[in-house]
């Protein structure tokens, strides 16, 4: 038998080629589908909401129930306050949890903390809302702060898990270099490890903010009955963009529906922008860590 026989296309090889093409084609279709879903969602929100979008809409507070002459300035301010306080709670705690698990905890405990964070990440946000309702709203009243606490609980595992992944990427050789210079452990952490990972840590925090900015279920429970006008006091209930979208879409008036689409457009634009900024920070961080 000449060696050319090896190069002849036999049945087995043909079959493997077919399987190869099939897998490649189906995974390509799946990837296109995912992109298509995003484009369809963004496209429909854009086409349905752009009509109601105006400077007036962005700078005027919502009118009384049923009155669609107002805008979402109170909801924008409310979301900024609620998410801002949530970030102030969740980001420092999340970073400390990540630092504890990657730098100090024994392997076994670190593993368990990771598992618990993954469980927390999987808790439906309506459950988080009910928990915070029982903790801070029942027998009292709704408040922006209660909304912040609920969103902070949603954010915490996201911040902590991404920070863990990023801190674990910091090369051990850098810590070694610092230790070998006689630098104390905490100082190595603060001056070498965290600055090296800074880009990735910021990325995680921004993604967590983007994730909770549109969170609706817990806010409906703990922060959805609010007064007129632009409110800024977090001890009282505050308006928010997701709750505005929910309430406007429940309304029978077509004008209110268009307003809901316009508010959704603002929310999506904000989340997309945050994601893009987060990617930029991540790219910078990867470069630093030689990845």
């Amino acid at each position: 038998m000449s060696t050319h026989a090896l190069l002849v296309d036999r049945g087995n090889l043909r079959r493997r080629n077919r399987v190869n093409r099939l897998v490649e084609a189906s995974s390509t279709v799946a990837a296109l589908l995912a992109v298509a879903v995003l484009l369809i969602v963004v496209g429909s929100v854009l086409s349905k909401g752009i009509g109601a979008l105006s400077l007036h809409f962005l700078t005027t507070p919502a009118g009384l129930f049923g009155d669609t002459s107002g805008g979402i300035s109170n909801a924008i301010v409310g979301t900024a306050i609620i998410v801002g306080i949530a970030a102030l709670i969740a980001i420092p705690v999340g970073l400390l949890v990540a630092i504890y698990t990657t730098e100090f905890a024994p392997q076994r405990i670190a593993h368990q903390v990771r598992f618990v964070l993954d469980l927390l990440n999987g808790v439906p946000t309506i459950i988080t809302g009910i928990f915070v309702y029982g903790l801070l709203v029942e027998h009292r009243h709704q408040s922006g702060f209660a909304g912040s606490v609920a969103l902070a609980i949603v954010m915490l595992p996201i911040v902590a898990r991404t920070a863990q992944e990023v801190l674990a990427l910091v090369p051990g050789t850098l810590k070694e270099a610092a230790y070998a210079l006689g630098v104390a452990r905490w100082r190595t952490l603060v001056r070498v490890t965290v600055p090296t990972a800074a880009g990735g840590l910021i990325t995680g925090a921004l993604l967590a903010v983007a994730r909770v900015a549109g969170e609706t279920a817990p806010l409906i429970l703990v922060c959805s009955i609010f007064g007129q006008g632009v409110l800024t006091e977090p001890s009282e209930a505050l308006a928010s963009i997701p709750v505005f979208i929910f309430q406007a879409s429940e309304s029978p008036s077509p004008e209110a529906h268009t307003q809901a689409w316009a508010a959704a457009l603002i929310l999506i634009a904000f989340v997309l922008a945050l994601n893009i900024v987060a990617r930029a920070f991540y790219a910078r961080s990867r470069k630093r860590m030689g990845a």
């Binding site: 070694e176 610092a178 210079l181 630098v183 001056r191």
Partner: protein, 300 residues
């Protein structure tokens, strides 16, 4: 005058083992940190020293139950370069990491025996590991400059991050760069990121960083293994100059390198010290058969 020149090395036996406390209470006018006591950089360039003599006595090192270094006793003389050779996994890196107590940073690792620097046991209770590492500097296999810091900040990192006074920082940084043979190449881009330098320059930057804290001993763990031949040659030349300032201990896989740079060569096998002697003799006429077999390439 250098306080470390005295026989008892008082810099190492701070009554308060918490280096942090001593940092926050800068009692010594010359400088708050331990091994900059005396502060003077006059020792750089000194032709001969009476300090920097290192003795190992019955040193054992373990990773869990793995006995990696087995009862090593030997001396490293000041103003000399000592090369440690041996096949992979023979414990040479581990032994060197015991000298600046980096070995104990690994979970489950421990060491027994004595490491004496100028008569003082570095493993004695009350000796602060931070003080040990300032007296015994280290350069690693791969250049590891801090990626968030500029060239000059990398060099002075050991000073800044251990709380040395800012005033002398620039001078000490420049002196260290001169000492590492890097000053001419980087003097115009001190503010550029340390990682923007070439691999060989980065390694000399790491040597400068180690020199800046003015150690008595410099440990080099295969410092050229990630470098090209030209950069390697540059570092080998530098090692010859460094021994005038520090006791140099270099771990190397490369026997030609040991022959080129070392005054004394040590051969290790399976965690044990097999033979130590003048480099010429070790490579031409060693006493032990195993040394002869190794240096003639029969194994390893």
């Amino acid at each position: 005058m250098d306080s470390r020149a005295s026989t008892e090395s008082p810099a190492m036996t701070e009554p308060n083992p918490k280096s942090q406390a001593s940092r926050e209470a800068p009692a010594q006018p010359a400088g708050p940190t331990i091994s900059v006591a005396g502060g003077s950089s006059s020792r750089l360039g000194t032709k001969s020293r009476e300090i920097g003599n290192l003795e190992l006595r019955g040193l054992n090192a373990f990773y869990g139950t793995n006995h990696a270094v087995r009862g090593v006793s030997m001396d490293f003389d000041s103003n000399r370069v000592t090369a440690i050779i041996g096949p992979s996994g023979c414990g040479k890196s581990t032994m060197v990491r015991c000298i600046n107590r980096m070995h104990e940073e690994i979970a489950g690792a421990r060491a027994t025996g004595r490491v004496m620097l100028d008569g003082l046991d570095l493993y004695e209770g009350g000796i602060d590991v931070v003080a040990v590492r300032r007296a015994v500097g280290m350069v690693f296999q791969k250049p590891n400059p801090f990626p968030t810091m500029s060239v000059i900040d990398n060099v002075t990192a050991g000073l800044r991050l251990t709380g040395a006074p800012r005033s002398e920082m620039d001078d000490r940084g420049r002196e260290a760069l001169v000492g590492a043979g890097l000053w001419e190449e980087v003097k115009d881009r001190l503010k550029a990121p340390g990682v923007s330098l070439s691999g060989g320059q980065q390694q000399r930057l790491c040597i400068a960083r180690a020199l800046a804290v003015e150690p008595e001993v410099l440990l080099m763990d295969e410092p050229c293994s990630a470098l090209d031949p030209v950069a390697t040659l540059r570092i080998e030349e530098l090692i010859g100059e460094l021994k005038e300032r520090v006791t140099v201990v270099i771990v190397t896989h490369n026997m030609q390198q040991a022959a080129r740079v070392a005054d004394t060569t040590v051969f290790m096998l399976n965690g044990e010290l097999i033979e130590t002697g003048p480099t010429d003799k070790m490579f031409t006429n060693p006493d032990d058969d195993r040394t002869e077999q190794y240096v003639t390439g029969k194994f390893g």
